[in-house]
């Protein structure tokens, strides 16, 4: 396919379909993440990239035979690997026998969370999640380091403003609908953020949804309008603050005599400590994810505005 727009759309559909698969396989938390990240924000970011590169692939098409061979070998090996796998849903598969029973039986007493996925994600394997937040932070810093544009002359700014003025005065229905939708999207993001302990959700999804609201605003009303509301330095520092909040919880548990990220020592009652710790770290995740997404979007589309 030569049309990059179609390619991106296909990827979005792929993300949505995988999310549906995950729902069928009873992994709703994963499905939610895949829907918001795979089908949602990454499609959006890729579309922003397509506006920079142009819609059609140009130049000679080379046919990399070796790449195809490698793909076939990899695919073959993957299928070969499935031959001896335990059957899907089989109760005596090792994954259901070894570590999982403790998560299923004891996580309620140990962490006080009804959602087992969140208890594994945020507490038992909380350090991995910390690492993942840092991965996102690193991505944001990488984009900032490579794409930040220096200060531009006023002429460009005026021209860009007039282009955006034309574009954004015309789509009246779109603008009104967006204005109606944005508060609800933000509210939903907050719900997802704080409901992660009880149902599917958590900082990652909430951050992405929150960022989607801001990106929607910027797309419909123009980047310069959005910049009046959103301070870029603020978002840069917010992404750091999210990581620091997460790590800070860990450092406080160190100072209270526990191990890094041991929430039991955060309060007198271990379960209350777990609750407090998880609430704080999820909030840190949300801050970093939302601000990094906004940073990436603004830096991508900022380049288009001032070519």
């Amino acid at each position: 396919m030569r049309d990059l727009f179609a390619v991106v759309m296909m990827l979005g559909i792929f993300g949505l379909l995988s999310a549906s698969f995950f729902v069928v396989m009873d992994a709703v938390d994963v499905a939610f993440t895949e829907a918001s990240v795979g089908a949602g924000i990454s499609t959006l970011l890729m579309l922003t990239a397509v506006t920079l590169t142009g819609r059609l692939e140009d130049g000679e098409r080379h046919r990399p035979m070796w790449a195809l061979v490698v793909v076939f070998i990899t695919g073959g090996l993957l299928i070969y690997g499935t031959l001896d796998m335990p059957y899907f849903g089989s109760a005596d598969a090792p994954i259901h026998q070894h570590v999982a029973p403790r998560y299923i039986h004891d996580s309620m007493q140990e962490t006080g969370l009804p959602n087992i996925v969140t208890s594994v994600l945020a507490s038992y394997r909380g350090f991995d999640t910390f690492g993942e937040v840092v991965v996102i932070f690193t991505a944001g810093m990488g984009v900032l380091a490579l794409l930040t544009m220096g200060s531009r002359t006023g002429i460009h700014r005026v021209m860009a403003d007039s282009i955006f003025y034309l574009m954004h005065e015309q789509h009246l229905i779109l603008r009104i609908l967006t204005k109606i939708l944005i508060p609800f999207i933000l509210l939903f993001a907050l719900y997802v953020q704080f409901h992660g302990d009880f149902g599917p959700g958590g900082g990652f999804q909430a951050g992405v949804i929150f960022a989607a609201a801001i990106i929607l605003y910027a797309m419909v009303f123009g980047l310069s309008t959005a910049r009046r509301v959103i301070n870029r330095t603020f978002f840069k520092l917010l992404s750091a603050i999210g990581v620091l909040l997460y790590g800070g919880v860990g450092v406080v548990s160190l100072l209270n005599g526990g191990n890094f990220l041991d929430y039991n020592v955060l309060a007198d009652d271990p379960v209350a400590g777990q609750h407090l710790g998880i609430l704080l770290i999820e909030f840190g995740v949300g801050c970093t994810v939302a601000s990094v997404m906004v940073i990436i979007f603004f830096n991508f589309s900022g380049r288009r505005e001032f070519p």
Partner: protein
């Protein structure tokens, strides 16, 4: 507080990175980064002492015991690699302030240090952890930071080089992830220690075989083992000088560490070396790598490219030592990890000094530099001698043990080939010496001054280490031997 040291080794650089973002001034950010990296080095030194004195340290993240939670498990092997990574990072960092002044625009200095700290934290996190999935997470941190750091190079080709590395590195990381997923499916655990106990039961299944294949290929991409090395030369050549120095010395070493960890500790020697014909494949690829890359290095016009190809060749030596499959062979690999990190950081940092003064690393520009930058060129010659493996340098120590291991095993053709490979190193190092000392400076180039002290001090610290550890081998040999023996299950 001593109990918390394992956590500190990672969270010091990891939390310093977001903090560093708040520092606007370049000098301040640099000082902060040097302090953070230096403290990490102190922590690693203490950890190594503790491990050598009293054995493996286990640290449970979040207070959850393994395999439910994530544990850090520090034995002699990773304490040793931790020391290499953190100390090289600290010494190279001393030159960063001077070097990036010329190579990176002022407004990106803070971000440079943030990414540097993230890359350091990622590498340390990969080495220190005892959890297979945690390896992947921290590998991603270090890789993403490394891609961005490389792309910051002033040459526009840096972007293309970083992109190539991004694609190859991501394929490598995905393969590792697939492998970890398959292992999890067959054992139900992600903890390395637990995996090593539960894998033998299911070792004969096709799923475990596929897992092993994916992990080995993925790690070898990161190692830049010939013929998967294509991303490396350009990435090293176009990255900012400091970044090249630190990545050349640490990131492929960490990947070699992972290779050792996965083959020896997790899958076990009997599985790795009997079920799969790994030994033969690795000896052949290692030797091919030594010869192909050294020969290519001889014909390079850019000295950064030259040393980058030489790095690919040196990785070949490490893989040969590893594939001999004896304690001495593994010991040679571990020694070469340490020694090669010392050589290449010294060499690339000295090249950074040349870049700082003449703005280019083309071999033709090196003419006459021997008299104009005597201390810098002397450092390059010393590093080059170490690369060849001349006695009284660290390069000799690792070659000695490698040849010894090959002979012990009766593989005398391998020993001969390893020595022949050193002759190739002599040729490419000689080309630089010839240009610098036996040619007149090119016409039209004005007077060139010696590099500033900001460069000379760290460069000479590293060169001195090259010579010191070449003569007093107690630290490196003892630790490498202990680590190799513990991996083979021999109690020292």
């Amino acid at each position: 507080m001593l109990i918390q040291l394992p956590a500190l080794a990672v969270i010091l650089p990891l939390l310093s990175a977001p903090l560093c973002l708040f520092l606007r001034r370049s000098l301040l950010a640099w000082l902060f980064t040097v302090i953070a990296s230096g403290l990490t080095m102190l922590v690693s030194i203490t950890l190594l002492q503790q491990v050598m004195a009293s054995g493996t340290i286990v640290y449970e993240m979040g207070g959850w015991s393994a395999p439910w939670g994530i544990e850090y498990r520090i034995d002699k092997l990773n304490a040793y690699v931790l020391l290499i990574v953190s100390s090289i990072s600290t010494v190279v960092l001393l030159a960063a302030h001077t070097s990036i002044e010329k190579e990176i625009p002022q407004d990106r200095h803070t971000l440079f240090y943030v990414l540097y700290l993230l890359s350091l934290a990622g590498l340390i996190g990969v080495v220190i952890t005892g959890d297979a999935f945690n390896v992947f997470v921290f590998l991603e941190i270090s890789s993403l930071a490394a891609y961005s750091l490389i792309a910051l190079g002033e040459d526009r080709r840096a972007l293309w080089a970083a992109y190539q590395y991004l694609i190859m590195g991501t394929i490598g990381a995905t393969f590792i992830l697939i492998g970890i997923g398959l292992m999890y499916q067959m054992t139900g655990t992600l903890n390395m220690d637990d995996l090593s106990r539960r894998l033998p039961e299911v070792a004969q299944t096709r799923t475990v075989f596929a897992a092993y294949a994916f992990i080995i290929v993925g790690v070898c991409l990161k190692v830049a083992l010939f013929p998967l090395h294509r991303w490396l030369p350009n990435a090293y050549a176009y990255a900012p000088s400091v970044v090249t120095a630190v990545l050349a010395a640490t990131s492929t070493k960490v990947a070699v560490y992972l290779l050792i960890r996965f083959t020896f500790s997790i899958f076990g020697i009997s599985f790795s070396f009997t079920t799969v014909p790994l030994q033969t494949i690795f000896v052949i690829l290692g030797l091919l790598g030594i010869f192909a890359a050294s020969t290519t290095a001889i014909f390079q016009k850019n000295v950064k490219h030259l040393f980058a190809y030489s790095s690919v060749a040196q990785i070949g030596y490490m893989i040969v030592g590893f594939s001999i499959g004896t304690t001495t062979g593994l010991m040679a690999t571990l020694l070469h990890l340490f020694n090669h990190a010392l050589m290449k950081s010294a060499l690339f940092l000295a090249l950074g000094a040349v870049m700082y003064r003449i703005g280019s690393a083309q071999l033709s520009q090196f003419q006459g530099l021997g008299r104009q930058m005597p201390f810098t060129m002397a450092a390059i010659v010393a590093g080059g001698l170490s690369l060849i493996g001349v006695p009284l340098t660290v390069g000799f120590v690792s070659k000695w043990y490698l040849v010894l291991a090959a002979l012990e095993n009766g593989w005398w053709p391998v020993a001969v080939l390893v020595l022949l490979g050193s002759l190739l190193a002599l040729v490419y190092v000689w080309r630089i010496v010839e240009a610098a000392y036996f040619n007149e400076p090119p016409a039209g180039r004005g007077a060139v001054e010696e590099a500033p002290l900001g460069f000379l001090i760290p460069v000479w610290v590293l060169v001195t280490a090259n010579i010191y550890f070449g003569m007093d081998t107690r630290l490196s040999v003892q630790v490498a031997q202990a680590a190799a023996q513990s991996l083979f299950g021999v109690s020292p």
